[in-house]
Each structure stands twice: as structure tokens, then as C-alpha cells.
């Protein structure tokens, strides 16, 4: 490549624009060679440098009283758990790999996010997964679901981290392009946190773990274009293969070396492999690095320098160590039989130099590839999506109100709706009990409650949440609801939310309507987190989730970690005792908008997001937190998909009880029972405590309605007998089971 025009021609193969080529020439002060162009091509891809999202992400609040390391400072955000303990957590997508190779795509997604966590020195203690598939009646969707669930299970089960929570949604918009988001939560002593910054010249650079192969080359680039099934076969080499045993011994070797103070800095190798980890660590420390690529242990000896730099082979780490600690470090890795190879060192001058067999194959300034520095940042144009007219036109008066016979049929549809039905057929394929701290293994709570191993009193609550129908209807409100509901789940489990991570799954950002969804979603998240002083400690953006069938619904998945300050007081979701009074905390409104009922029973996909009042939501959460603290309530369950009905029947099924309630008759009965109005929670209490609860509700300015009582088995609504709990239990538990036979 001897001219700008030739470079521009070659750059098209890396999805770089002519403007970006000019930017590269300006940074280098010369034309790039072919290797350098490849490095820019991958590192300036959407997946690596967030060029179309960074402007908006920078507006998210990072500060909070518990925050130790904010977004972008290290590989994962860290919050303070007290008693010298810190919690690292992050969520990431592996959507495109899972679409074409569900098993390996999901497995390596799990492996990748755990590495992000233990690269901070934290031992992962919990995994969560937010999964969105097409309807399981569809063969392709079932193939993807089965592979993804096996992949998550086989990797996590072997690695020894319990998969304790998450969510599974089914909608045809995810048929070709599923959403597979994995979250990891780890714990580290505060003074043992490992930095990802190349601070000192002279530090030796090591590659640790698996040998480098051709798998996953251009994986980041593959994630940065629309999904094309025709080309999927060709892209299979972009999918990595996981080895959980290698990850396990890598983890143990690293934690032992860190315990002995032998690691100066570290970064995992994920997207764009060795290139990304060397350039990011150097850029953070404003230092340079010289790397000798022929020293990298290879699986295929014929690999070219650019392939070695870009390989996304799994289970690898870049470790920096002070020269005098190298011998000791090698001993630890020998003990665990983990390969550790010196490949270069940190240098004072902030440039990256890559050599191969004596020849310098690439040289560039350290900042050149870094997100928000050398890499470009764009604000694309956006336009409110056309379907919003349909949304705003929605008139509930045109939706017929069902009679009681139809109501019963709807109740059955909802209980067997795969998004709502019991996820036990999936959960049981995951080891959710290893590290012996998951309270939900014995009793369901709205969020997962996990003991920090092996404490007597240190517990956290974790959850992921995103109802994509609400976000589709109104990206701003819908994303606020996702944050609010995740917090509500934490609060209902006795926790105080302390940190937020997010995985923003959207379609192609060059489509102005998709970009509008993205911008509004980020703004919604920004505003609620600012108002509630919730720090966002990190996250991930996944664009290009679309195929010839169109974009997915916008799916900004929210992950939240909370601290459970008084674990002895937590209240679980099942009904406890016959005769207990059932109270709905929150507004009694007959709204049906964007409910599973409206979408799947009436087939109406365009309606506004459900009623949501951010001020009331906060009061409700404070109120619930207080009730748990005062030990006034015997069960608590958040109302979400499927409305009040599903909240009640789930508490009944898990408690092996029935219930009898009376709902208002001055309004839509379908709205009261199946509507998804936000800010609502079902609690049960002793009859003697009812007055006390009602007085407190007035004091906290939250609506509360006594609905009825817990019964032995029978279910009765407004005088109509709706079978007993065993009938519903059978429906609820068998709905998903059949897809795993």
C-alpha cells in the first residue's frame, strides 16, 4: 500500500471509512502497513471502541458512596462491601457467536465474563444470565436455547461458580439473533485488587494460560456487523472454543500468585486478544510496550503476526510483573501446570512496538487504538421510530373486557407462557449450589441472595432485569422501569442496591430509528440512576443485533448488586400460613398496556409502557425495605410479567397454599389482575398486623389494599372458583419441561 487510495481500498475489508483512514494517517504521520491497518480495523470496530455509543455512555453517573473503581478505570467496576471486601461485577453479551454456534458461543461468553472479574483479583462467586430466545415451538429457537443452556451449564459447572439468577424471555424477534448476556460477580479483599494499568517501565509482560490459535480471529469485527445467516458458516472461525478446566487452573494460579503479591498488573484477553490487552494497559498507564510475537505459544505454528495479535483464543491473560518477582511467579504457575511465557516488557515511551522474528511488524502510539482517545467517537443521527404512532394511538377502550370464563383461560395462558412459566428445567442444568451460599436453592426470593464465601453474616443480592416490550414501547420509560424493577427485586430480597452494570443490546446504530431507541434508553437509565444516586460501574454495548428478519426489540439488560445488611431478617416469596392477609402495596389501576396479556392474548404489540411513577416507586421501595427490617411481613413478591395474578399464583405454588381475593369492580378486571402497572408488591402479614401496616402505608404515602387471605389449597377470585394450587402447579412446572425432552 503506497498511496492513500490503496489504503482506503484495503480498509474497506475492515469496515473502516475513508475519514477513519485519514485519521489513522494523521495519528501515524505516515501510511499504515497492512498489519497496522488490521489493528486499527479491529480496535476501531464498534465492539472494541464503542465509537457510536461512548458519547452517551459518558453521561452515565459513575460516583456513589460504595464505589471503589468506576466505569472504565479497570476491567470491571468494584464496590465496597465493608470489612475490607470489594465486589467486582460486570455483564457482557455473546449474542452473535451464540446465534451461529449456541453451545460454544454461550460457554465462551460465560468464560469471558468470569475472566473480566478475576482479572481484578476477585474470585467469582456467582453467575447470572439474561437470555432472550425465539418461541420454543420454533425449531431453530429450540436448537439455540438447548445449546445455550448446555453451554452455560457445562462451562460454569466445571469452573465451579454457581449460576444463581437471570431471566429468560421468549419472543419471535429473537428467533435468528438471540440475546445471551452473562454476568459475573466476584469478591476480593480491598488491598488485593489487581490493577489493569501498565504503570512502570521495566515490568515484564507474560502471556498465561491456553496457547494461541486461529479461533476467534475477527470475532470483534463479526460482532460489529448485522447477522447474516448465509455468511454464518464462513464466520464460524470467529467463534471461540472454551476450556473451563484451563480457566479453572488459570484462576487458581492467578489467585495464589496475587495472594503472594506477585502480579503488578493484569488484563484478560477477550475481544481483539493480545492486541487489545497490550494496547489498553499501555494506554491507561501512558506507557508503551514492546512485544515479541514469535515468543507467544501457538497452536498453529504457521500463524501470521496479525493473526497472533488478533486471535481471540480463550483462557488467556496478559500479566505484568516486576522483574525481581518473575521467578516466584513462575513457580506458582508451574505448580498449577499453567503455561506462562514472557513475551515482552513495558517501556517508558508511550508507543506500542510489535516484533516478529526480528522484524518490527507494527508501531503506533499507545493512545491510538484506545476508546475515546485515538479511536473515533460519533453521534449518529436519530429519528423517533415510525411504530411510535401505533403506540400512541392505542386505546384500551377498544380492547374487549373478557368475561369470567375467558379470564380463567387467560390465567392458564399466562401460567404456561414460556416467559412466565417455571424455569426449573433450565436452572437444574446449572450448578446453582456450589460455594454453598445460594439461599434461593432452598427458598425463592425475588433476587438471588448469596453468602460471600464463607462468611457468617456477609450476604449480597443480585439480579438482572429487562422487559424489552416496555423498552420497545418507550425506550426512555422502559429502561427506567428495568432499573426500577431490578432495584425492587433487590429491595424485596432485603438488599440495598449499591451498583449497576448494563448490557445494551440493540440493532444497527446506522439505522436512525434504532439509534433513537439507544439514545433514549441511555438517557432513561442516566436520569433514574442520577436521581436515585445509583452508580453505574461498567457495562457493554452490543449493536447490530438484527438479521433479515429485522432488529431485535431494544434490550438494555440491567444487572444490580445489593448488600443484604441483615440476612437473618430476609423474607422469601412463598405464602407461609393459611389465614394470612394478602396486601397489594402500590397503585390499584386497571392499565393493560404492554402486558403479556395484551400482547399474547389480544395480539396487540403496540401500546405504551405501563404506568410508572418514579417518585412513587422510590417510596414503595423504601416502604418494603422498612417492612422487612421491622419483620412485619411473612412473604413478599414483586409484581411483574403477568401482573398481580402471576405474583399471587407463584407465591401460592411455592408455598403450596391457595388464596382468596376480591378485586374492585369499578374498572377493568383484566387490568387489575393481568395488567403490569409498575411499583407494586404483594406481601402477606398476620391479621393482627393489618392495622399497623395500613397506618405505616399512610405515613410513607404509599397505596395499600388488603385483597384477601391465604387459603389451604383453593383459589377463588371475586367469588369465582379457579381450581386448587396443585392444578396450577402442574401447568406452571410442565410448560417448559417438554422442550428439554
Amino acid at each position: 500500500m503506497n498511496t492513500r487510495e490503496e489504503v482506503i481500498q484495503a480498509a474497506m475489508g475492515w469496515n473502516l471509512t475513508p475519514e477513519e483512514v485519514d485519521r489513522i494517517i494523521e495519528i501515524l504521520g505516515r501510511l499504515p502497513n497492512a498489519v497496522e491497518l488490521a489493528l486499527f480495523g479491529v480496535m476501531w470496530s464498534e465492539h472494541c471502541c464503542y465509537k457510536n455509543s461512548l458519547h452517551w455512555l459518558k453521561q452515565l453517573p459513575k460516583e456513589g458512596k460504595h464505589v471503589l473503581k468506576g466505569a472504565g478505570e479497570e476491567n470491571a467496576g468494584l464496590v465496597d462491601l465493608g470489612d475490607n471486601l470489594a465486589c467486582a461485577f460486570k455483564i457482557e453479551s455473546h449474542n452473535h457467536p451464540s446465534a451461529i454456534a449456541p453451545y460454544h458461543g454461550a460457554a465462551t461468553g460465560v468464560g469471558g465474563i468470569h475472566r473480566d472479574i478475576f482479572t481484578t483479583g476477585a474470585r467469582p462467586i456467582a453467575a447470572l444470565d439474561s437470555l432472550h430466545f425465539g418461541h420454543p415451538e420454533d425449531r431453530r429457537s429450540r436448537w439455540i436455547m438447548d445449546g445455550v443452556v448446555r453451554g452455560i451449564g457445562d462451562y460454569g459447572n466445571s469452573f465451579g461458580v454457581p449460576t444463581i439468577a437471570g431471566e429468560v424471555y421468549f419472543d419471535d424477534t429473537y428467533r435468528v439473533n438471540p440475546i445471551v448476556n452473562a454476568m459475573s460477580v466476584g469478591v476480593v479483599e480491598k488491598d488485593k485488587i489487581i490493577s489493569a494499568v501498565a504503570k512502570e517501565a521495566g515490568w515484564k509482560a507474560f502471556i498465561a494460560g491456553a496457547p494461541t490459535g486461529r479461533d476467534g480471529i475477527k470475532g470483534a469485527a463479526f460482532a460489529s456487523v448485522d447477522l447474516d445467516l448465509e455468511e454464518a458458516e464462513e464466520n464460524l472461525p470467529a467463534v471461540q472454543i472454551g476450556d473451563p478446566f484451563m480457566e479453572k487452573i488459570l484462576l487458581e494460579a492467578i489467585l495464589e500468585a496475587n495472594e503472594k503479591g506477585l502480579i503488578a498488573a493484569m488484563q484478560d484477553m477477550g475481544a481483539a486478544g493480545l492486541l487489545c490487552s497490550t494496547s489498553e494497559m499501555a494506554a491507561r498507564g501512558k506507557k508503551g510496550m514492546v512485544i515479541y510475537l514469535e515468543k507467544v505459544p501457538l497452536r498453529h505454528p504457521s500463524m501470521k503476526p496479525w493473526e497472533i495479535l488478533l486471535s481471540e483464543s480463550q483462557e488467556r491473560m496478559l500479566i505484568l510483573a516486576e522483574p525481581e518477582k518473575v521467578d516466584e511467579l513462575k513457580k506458582v504457575f508451574d505448580k498449577w501446570d499453567v503455561p506462562l511465557t514472557e513475551i515482552g516488557e513495558v517501556i517508558e515511551e508511550p508507543i506500542l512496538q510489535y516484533y516478529f522474528k526480528g522484524e518490527k511488524v507494527a508501531e503506533l502510539p499507545s493512545y491510538a487504538l484506545a476508546a475515546g482517545e485515538g479511536a473515533p467517537v460519533y453521534r449518529r443521527t436519530w429519528r423517533e421510530a415510525d411504530y411510535r404512532f401505533e403506540v400512541l394511538k392505542f386505546n384500551p377502550a377498544q380492547v374487549p373486557i373478557p368475561d369470567w370464563d375467558e379470564m380463567l383461560e387467560i390465567a392458564k395462558e399466562l401460567v404456561t407462557n414460556p416467559t412466565i412459566a417455571s424455569k426449573k428445567p433450565i436452572i437444574r442444568q446449572y450448578d446453582h449450589m456450589v460455594q454453598i451460599g445460594n439461599k434461593n436453592a432452598w427458598e425463592p426470593f425475588d433476587a438471588a441472595i448469596m453468602r460471600v464465601p464463607y462468611s457468617n453474616d456477609k450476604f449480597i443480592a443480585v439480579t438482572t432485569d429487562c422487559n424489552p416490550y416496555y423498552v420497545y414501547a418507550d425506550p426512555y420509560i422502559g429502561t427506567q422501569i428495568a432499573v426500577a424493577e431490578a432495584c425492587r427485586n433487590i429491595v424485596c430480597s432485603g438488599g440495598e442496591p449499591v451498583g449497576v452494570t448494563n448490557c445494551l443490546n440493540f440493532g444497527n446504530p446506522y439505522d436512525p430509528r434504532v439509534y433513537w431507541q439507544f439514545v433514549r434508553a441511555v438517557q432513561g437509565m442516566r436520569d433514574i440512576c442520577r436521581q436515585w444516586e445509583l452508580p453505574i460501574t461498567g457495562g457493554n454495548v452490543s449493536f447490530y443485533n438484527q438479521s433479515e428478519e429485522g432488529p431485535i426489540m431494544p434490550t438494555p439488560v440491567i444487572g444490580i448488586v445489593g448488600i443484604v445488611h441483615e440476612p437473618e431478617k430476609v423474607v422469601s416469596m412463598p405464602f407461609k400460613q393459611t389465614g394470612d392477609i394478602i396486601v397489594q402495596i402500590g397503585p390499584m389501576i386497571d392499565d393493560i398496556a404492554s402486558s403479556q396479556y395484551l400482547i399474547f392474548h389480544h395480539g396487540i404489540r403496540h401500546s405504551p409502557a405501563p404506568v410508572f411513577d418514579i417518585e412513587l416507586e422510590k417510596r414503595i421501595q423504601n416502604f418494603i425495605g422498612m417492612l422487612i427490617k421491622k419483620q412485619l411481613i411473612k412473604s413478599v413478591h414483586d409484581i411483574s410479567e403477568g401482573g398481580l395474578w402471576i405474583a399471587l399464583i407463584e407465591s401460592a405454588i411455592y408455598g403450596n397454599k391457595g388464596f382468596e381475593i376480591k378485586l374492585p369492580e369499578n374498572g377493568r378486571i383484566d387490568g387489575f389482575l393481568f395488567g403490569e402497572i409498575q411499583s407494586r408488591v404483594v406481601v402477606t402479614i398476620d391479621e393482627d398486623n393489618l392495622n399497623k401496616l395500613m397506618n405505616l402505608a399512610r405515613e410513607y404515602k404509599v397505596p395499600a389494599h388488603a385483597l384477601g387471605t391465604v387459603t389451604e389449597k383453593q383459589i377463588r377470585i371475586n367469588g369465582h372458583d379457579w381450581h386448587d394450587v396443585n392444578f396450577w402447579k402442574e401447568l406452571y412446572e410442565s410448560a417448559l419441561e417438554k422442550y428439554f425432552d
Binding site: 459447572n157 446449572y430 450448578d431 454453598i436 428439554f740
Partner: protein, 233 residues
């Protein structure tokens, strides 16, 4: 008495078992590294636990490589000298592979990993593991495995019954043992066995996973307490 908990590189229940023995029961516990050719500092008559996990990745067959490890040779000698060993889950698989226990653990009938709380019925109280527990008692001890279907030939099975070597069977809450209470297709719903000398014990359920009321259940603690009681006699 002393306890040893073996660490294979892919063990992942080693720390859980160690915690229960040390922190919950206040026992004297030591980790044993898989590359060690001896069980030091354990002495004759002490107890070794092979914990759950994926010893060396178990890509071939659970426990197939672990049986060749230096520590397993040392454990065989330990048993020959009258010592005791309990294999939990992967540990049970390894003991069968090593020929220290009869039978084999093969793929669950549904071909999937199964993790859930699990009722098991105690078949005999005449062992160190169960001496504090009455025959027929039902305990909730979780399972988590993909290769947990116990298989043994008829002949051997008969002799195992005759020698009182069947420890636990998968049951329902009230102790009824049927096909529907069998999660993985094990022969006769067998969840745990021992050798004829009652020195080597294997069980698929994880007693360390139901050992603290703080987390939700402590049925499994009775197994460890029984051993402590028995060893103190």
C-alpha cells in the same frame, strides 16, 4: 482425628467441604495436593475426603485420569493400612474408577446435568457415615452431576446387599423409593455405597451443601457428625 481434603486442579467443592469441617464443626482439617505421593500429615485411621468437581477437566470420563494421580496411589496405601476415605460426587466417580468401590457412574438417563435438592433415604445406620441416623430416615442432600447414574452388575449388587453396603437411596420426602424418585436412572435408586470393609465410601449427593441452616438446610451435617462421633468411640 484428622481430616484431609484432596485438591485436584479441577476440584471445586474442596473449599466448601473444608469450610464445613473446619468452621461449622471445628475439626482439624488439612488440604492434600494431588501431586503429593503421601497423605501427610494424616495418620492411620484418619479420614480423607475426595470432593466434588472436575478433577482434571473430566473431558474423557469423570475420574478416569484422577485415578492415576500420585495422591490416589497414596490413598490406596492409606486404605490398605486401615484408613478411611469418602468420595463425594466426583470423588465417588474417582473411587469407582480406581477400583476402590464396586460399580461405575455413567451418564444420567436424560443426558443432562441435574442440580437440585434431593431426598435420600438412609438404608443402614451400621456405618461410620450414618451411625447417628436411624434406618429409613429421609435427608435432603443436594445432587449436582451429569454422570451420576450408578451401575453395578447383578451379582455384585446381591453381595453388596448381603454385606450391608448400600448407604442411601433416592426417595421422596416420606421415604418412598420408586422410579419417579430416581433422578438419574441409578440401579435400585442407589445414591451411595461403601466397600465390604466399610472403609471406603462414595455418595453422589453433596452433604456439605446442606450443612448450614443459615443457607437453608443442615440435613447433610449429620453425615459429618456421625463420622466424628464414630471416630471418637
Amino acid at each position: 482425628m484428622r481430616w484431609g481434603v484432596v485438591i485436584f486442579p479441577g476440584s471445586n467443592c474442596d473449599r466448601d467441604v473444608f469450610h464445613v469441617l473446619k468452621d461449622v464443626l471445628g475439626e482439624d482439617v488439612h488440604f492434600l495436593w494431588h501431586k503429593n505421593g503421601s497423605v501427610e500429615p494424616l495418620g492411620e485411621g484418619d479420614w480423607i475426603i475426595l470432593p466434588g468437581g472436575f478433577s482434571y477437566g473430566d473431558y474423557l470420563r469423570a475420574g478416569a485420569i484422577a485415578r492415576l494421580s500420585p495422591i490416589m496411589k497414596a490413598i490406596k496405601r492409606h486404605v490398605e493400612k486401615g484408613g478411611y476415605v469418602l468420595g463425594i460426587c466426583n470423588g465417588f466417580q474417582i473411587l469407582c474408577e480406581a477400583g476402590l468401590l464396586p460399580g461405575a457412574l455413567v451418564m444420567n438417563t436424560n443426558g443432562r446435568f441435574i442440580c437440585q435438592p434431593q431426598y435420600v433415604r438412609v438404608e443402614t445406620s451400621n456405618t461410620p457415615l450414618t451411625n447417628l441416623i436411624a434406618d429409613g430416615t429421609v435427608l435432603n442432600i443436594p445432587i449436582a452431576h451429569k454422570e451420576g447414574r450408578y451401575y453395578v452388575d447383578n451379582e455384585t449388587l446381591k453381595s453388596m446387599y448381603a454385606n450391608d453396603q448400600i448407604l442411601f437411596k433416592y426417595s421422596d420426602e416420606s421415604g418412598v423409593v420408586t422410579d419417579t424418585t430416581n433422578p438419574n436412572g441409578s440401579v435400585d435408586n442407589i445414591a451411595g455405597v461403601c466397600d465390604a470393609n466399610k472403609q471406603v465410601f462414595g455418595m453422589m449427593p453433596h452433604p456439605e451443601r446442606s450443612a448450614e441452616q443459615l443457607i437453608g438446610n443442615d440435613d447433610g451435617l449429620q453425615i459429618f457428625k456421625s463420622i466424628v462421633q464414630w471416630a471418637g468411640k
